[in-house]
Structure formats: structure tokens, C-alpha cells
């Protein structure tokens, strides 16, 4: 008997966990890119050929960005906790 439910589980876990991770990290990075006042854009350009703007961003954006990164760490640690038998 082939255990199709195991494959389904891998599919669901992979899709849900990957999209969750990518969402929180993407959100955090997007929040870090919130500029407040218009001003000169930094000389540095990043990999995507965008200029990096460091002209101050609202504190709230920084805070939520870090909340997103902490959420990322939490998802990863929870995932590892789930698979290590020694923790159970």
C-alpha cells in the first residue's frame, strides 16, 4: 500500500511553510524599504539595480519589520523542533 497521505502531508507542509516564510521575510524587507521624506537616494545600488534609500523610515515600520524577521526565526525553529525526535 502506497501511503498517499504522507505525500499529501509533504505537499501541504511545503507549500504552507514556504509561503509563510517567504511572506514574513518579504514583508519585513518591504517594510524596511519604506521611506519617509523625499531626499537624495544613497549612492549604493543593490543587486536588483535599485538605489538603496536610507533617509529615515518610520519607527513603526522598523519595528514591524523586525517583528516579521522574528516570526521567520520562530517558523524555522518550530519546524526544526517538530522534526527532531530528541525534543519530544
Amino acid at each position: 500500500m502506497i501511503d498517499w497521505s504522507a505525500f499529501l502531508l509533504v505537499l501541504v507542509v511545503t507549500v504552507v511553510a514556504s509561503l509563510a516564510i517567504v511572506s514574513v521575510v518579504g514583508l519585513g524587507i518591504r517594510l524596511l524599504a519604506v521611506p519617509t521624506r523625499p531626499g537624495p537616494v544613497g549612492e549604493a545600488t543593490d543587486e536588483e539595480e535599485d538605489d538603496v534609500n536610507h533617509n529615515g523610515r518610520p519607527l513603526i515600520a522598523t519595528i514591524f519589520a523586525w517583528v516579521s524577521f522574528v516570526a521567520f526565526a520562530a517558523i524555522v525553529l518550530y519546524g526544526i523542533w517538530l522534526i527532531v525526535p530528541a525534543f519530544h
Binding site: M1, I2, D3, A6, F7, L9, V10, L11, V13, T14, V15, A17, S18, L19, I21, V22, S23, V25, G26, L27, I29, R30, L32, A33, P35, V41, T45, D46, E47, E48, D50, D51, V52, N53, F72, V76, G79, I80, L82, I83, V84, P85
Partner: protein, 455 residues
């Protein structure tokens, strides 16, 4: 008897080493390429995480040691002797080195399972292999996992670009994904340890069971876990130089945000599969993700030629290594002398291949990682526009040349008429008929050029 067991353990650890060596690039090529990590740091990090990953779980090891070879009907161990496991591991190593030499994408895991199947078939017949376990834990995951990873990477790439897109023209800060990539590649390295190191542990456990040193219901002995973890970590660290070379030859067009999405999908797929004991090819999962994420970027499409070549390499591995495994198993049937001959033949073949590799180190295409090659299977809009422009230019050139040739042809006809009318006039134009001849050749060369660019 005893020395065969020790030989298998040594060979299995060697296999583990080559596995780490082979796969470092999968995890760490992108962060080095985007300069998120220095090569040495990246390689050391990958080695440590492989080591840690190897200790995390033993599900895959148990699949290999218990799930693939049936119990011995005579009671006790498994229906295969250490000599045939020796044949299997030797076949896997040889196939691995051969594909590495020819730059063929292949899976170390499939080579191992192929060798085991071929050897068990010759050594103990059809009944020795648990076909159900093979289908459920090896063959189906081999097909499904890259597809799952690819689909997820596609969605993840779409999502990550949607979240970070901005319409007001301000910088979107996607370059910061470089830092995120340090974490996603670390996860890939960790997941590699949870799956690939386990296969060797499974083989060593299998040989111990087969020799009667431990019982079938025992878990994986701790010293086996520790030595396999070390072997894969050392292999990963040594593979670092190959990565640096890979980067010297130019890495594929993978952007940080896209790379992050691909690596996340790879790591999650492998970790989830390892937890259920699926022995899959980490390389194939990573390749699936890279292709999926490439397709997730706007306007990209698959180059079916390249994708087909990669798929052929994947399909070939299992039967080819099974054939080599069967051949070595036949040799082993001779008895202990067979094992000695097999070792000698294997070592000789390895030595020859290393000498060949040394001679044409760059041409062999062995500097590119399999995953980087998978990225080549997706063509992106920028690249395609460039190709289309080249094709258009070539076509226009051909057209112009054809028109010129036609004009020349007409002129020639007119000249022929004139020739009939007046011999004196024809003499003055004698130099010209040579021209149409050279010009009719041009369209052909232009077409050739076009064909060359299209392929």
C-alpha cells in the same frame, strides 16, 4: 567476513564524503555569488550545518536499513550478505565519479539505490527487494519531491515579488534578500545533512545487520551517526574549492529575492520529506526549485532542450548504477577473491578517471553545479529579447543578401541578352558575372549564422 564489513564501512564513508563534496554548491553557490558570504565562511557554515543536520533525525537511515531489503527468510538479518552491499556501494561511487567527470547531472542517492537494487537482484533474486518500500520511499518521492519543490518555488517567487513590489518608483530594497539568503542557504545545508548523510548511515547499519553485528530492530548505532556526520561535513568543506571555481565560470542569473524563494522551498521540501523517511535526491529537489522560481519571474519560459537533458541524466542514473551494481555482484559471486578483484577494478577505474579529470579539468563541464545547470533550463525575458534581436538581425541580413543576389541574377540575365546583341559590350561587362556568384553564397552563410544562434 569481518574484513568485508570494514571495507563496506570505509567505502560507504568515502561515498558520504563525495556526496558532501558534490553538493556543497547546491546550498552555498548563491550566497557566494551575491557576495552575501565570503567563500570560506559559506563553505565552513555549510559543513557545520551538514554535521548538525546529520544528527537531527534517523528516519531516512531507517528507510535504507529496513525498508528496502526484505528480512532474511532464514531468520535474523536481511536477505543480503555484506559482499553484495559492497558491490552496491562500489557501483554507486563509480557511477558518481563517472557522471562528475562527464558533467552529467545525476543523483548520488539514486546511484546508491540503483547499485543496491542491481546487486541484490543478482545476489539474492527478486524476493530480496522490498518493492513496495522502494516505490513508496524512494521512487515516488524521487518524482514527486522535485515537482512539489518546483511548484512551491514558483508560488513563493510570485508572492515575494508581489509583496515587495512598489508602484511609486521608490527603491523596493530587494537587495536585502541577500542577507535573507544566508539563512535560507543555511537551511538547505541543514536539510542536506538530514537526508543525504542518512543514506550512508542506512547503508552502514544495513551491513551491520547483514553481518549479524546488530539486530534488525535496533536503531542506528551512535558511532555510525557520528562518523557519517563527520564524513559529509569534511566532504562539504573540501567541496568549497569547486564552488569558487564554479563562480569563476559565471553563475546563472538568479536574483536574491528569487534565490531566497527557491532555497526556502528546497529546504522545507527536504526537511518535510526527511521527517517521513523519504530518501530523495537533494540535488533534484534544489534543481526543481530553481527551475520553478525561474518560471515564477515574469515572462520567463522553459528551455525544454536543457530541461530534457537534465531529466535524462536523472532517469539514467538508477538503471545505469543498477547495471554496474549487478556486474560487481556477479563478480562477488566468485567468493572472497571476487571482492578483492572488485576492489582492484574499482580503484583502477577511479584512478583512471581522476587522471582524465586532471587532464581536461575545465572542458569536462565539471565545474558547474547541477543546480546551476538547472537554472539554465529557464530563459528570461531579457535574455530572450537579446536572442530575438540577434535572430532578427540575422534574418534581415539574409533578406538583404537574397535581394542583392536576385538583383545580380537579373543583371546577369540582362547581360546575357546584351551579350547576344553585341559582343563588344559584353566584353566590357565581363568582370561582373563573377559578382553574382559570390553573392548567392551569402544567404546560405547568413542562414547558418541564424541557425547557430537559435541553437
Amino acid at each position: 567476513m569481518e574484513w568485508v564489513v570494514i571495507l563496506v564501512i570505509v567505502l560507504a564513508l568515502l561515498f558520504d564524503f563525495t556526496n558532501g563534496f558534490h553538493d556543497t554548491a547546491n546550498a552555498m553557490a548563491t550566497p557566494i555569488a551575491t557576495r552575501a558570504l565570503k567563500p570560506r565562511t559559506a563553505v565552513a557554515l555549510a559543513a557545520v550545518l551538514n554535521l548538525v543536520g546529520a544528527f537531527l533525525s534517523t528516519h531516512v537511515a531507517l528507510t535504507v536499513s529496513k525498508g528496502l531489503i526484505n528480512e532474511d527468510p532464514a531468520g535474523g538479518g536481511v536477505a543480503i550478505t555484506p559482499e553484495f552491499i559492497f558491490a552496491a556501494v562500489l557501483a554507486a561511487i563509480l557511477w558518481n565519479v563517472t557522471t562528475w567527470l562527464f558533467g552529467l547531472p545525476s543523483s548520488s542517492s539514486h546511484a546508491l539505490f540503483g547499485g543496491l537494487i542491481g546487486s541484490a537482484l543478482v545476489g539474492a533474486g527478486l524476493g530480496a527487494i522490498s518493492w513496495e518500500g522502494l516505490l513508496d520511499k524512494v521512487l515516488l518521492p524521487a518524482v514527486l519531491a522535485p515537482i512539489i519543490a518546483g511548484g512551491t518555488a514558483f508560488l513563493a517567487t510570485r508572492l515575494v515579488y508581489r509583496i515587495t513590489r512598489r508602484r511609486d518608483g521608490n527603491p523596493n530594497g530587494r537587495g536585502r534578500f541577500k542577507i535573507a539568503q544566508i539563512f535560507s542557504s543555511s537551511l538547505v545545508a541543514l536539510s542536506h545533512g538530514t537526508n543525504d548523510a542518512q543514506k550512508t548511515m542506512g547503508i552502514i547499519t544495513l551491513v551491520l545487520i547483514s553481518a549479524g553485528a546488530i539486530s534488525r530492530d535496533d536503531g542506528v548505532p551512535f558511532w555510525v551517526i557520528a562518523t557519517c556526520a563527520l564524513a559529509i561535513a569534511i566532504g562539504t568543506y573540501s567541496g568549497g574549492w569547486r564552488i569558487i571555481k564554479t563562480l569563476g565560470t559565471g553563475i546563472t542569473d538568479v536574483k536574491p529575492a528569487q534565490g531566497f524563494a527557491a532555497e526556502t522551498s528546497t529546504a522545507v521540501t527536504i526537511l518535510a520529506s526527511s521527517h517521513l523517511g523519504f530518501a530523495l535526491s537533494t540535488t533534484q529537489v534544489a534543481s526543481g526549485s530553481v527551475i520553478g522560481s525561474g518560471l515564477g519571474r515574469r515572462g520567463s519560459r522553459v528551455k525544454w532542450g536543457t530541461a530534457g537533458r537534465i531529466a535524462t541524466g536523472w532517469l539514467l542514473t538508477l538503471p545505469a548504477s543498477a547495471a554496474i551494481g549487478a556486474a560487481f555482484a556477479a563478480l562477488v559471486l566468485l567468493g572472497e577473491s571476487g571482492v578483492i578483484i572488485g576492489t582492484a577494478v574499482g580503484l583502477l577505474a577511479l584512478a583512471i578517471m581522476f587522471i582524465i579529470a586532471r587532464r581536461n579539468r575545465i572542458d569536462a563541464g565539471n565545474v558547474m553545479s547541477d543546480v546551476a545547470e538547472a537554472a539554465e533550463a529557464v530563459s528570461l525575458p531579457v535574455q530572450r529579447r537579446r536572442e530575438a534581436a540577434a535572430a532578427r538581425r540575422a534574418a534581415a541580413k539574409a533578406k538583404r543578401a537574397a535581394a542583392k543576389a536576385k538583383r545580380a541574377e537579373q543583371a546577369k540575365a540582362a547581360k546575357a541578352k546584351a551579350k547576344a546583341k553585341s559582343k563588344a559590350k559584353a566584353k566590357a561587362k565581363k568582370a561582373k558575372p563573377a559578382k553574382p556568384h559570390t553573392k548567392t553564397k551569402q544567404p546560405a552563410s547568413a542562414k547558418q549564422q541564424e541557425r547557430g544562434e537559435a541553437s
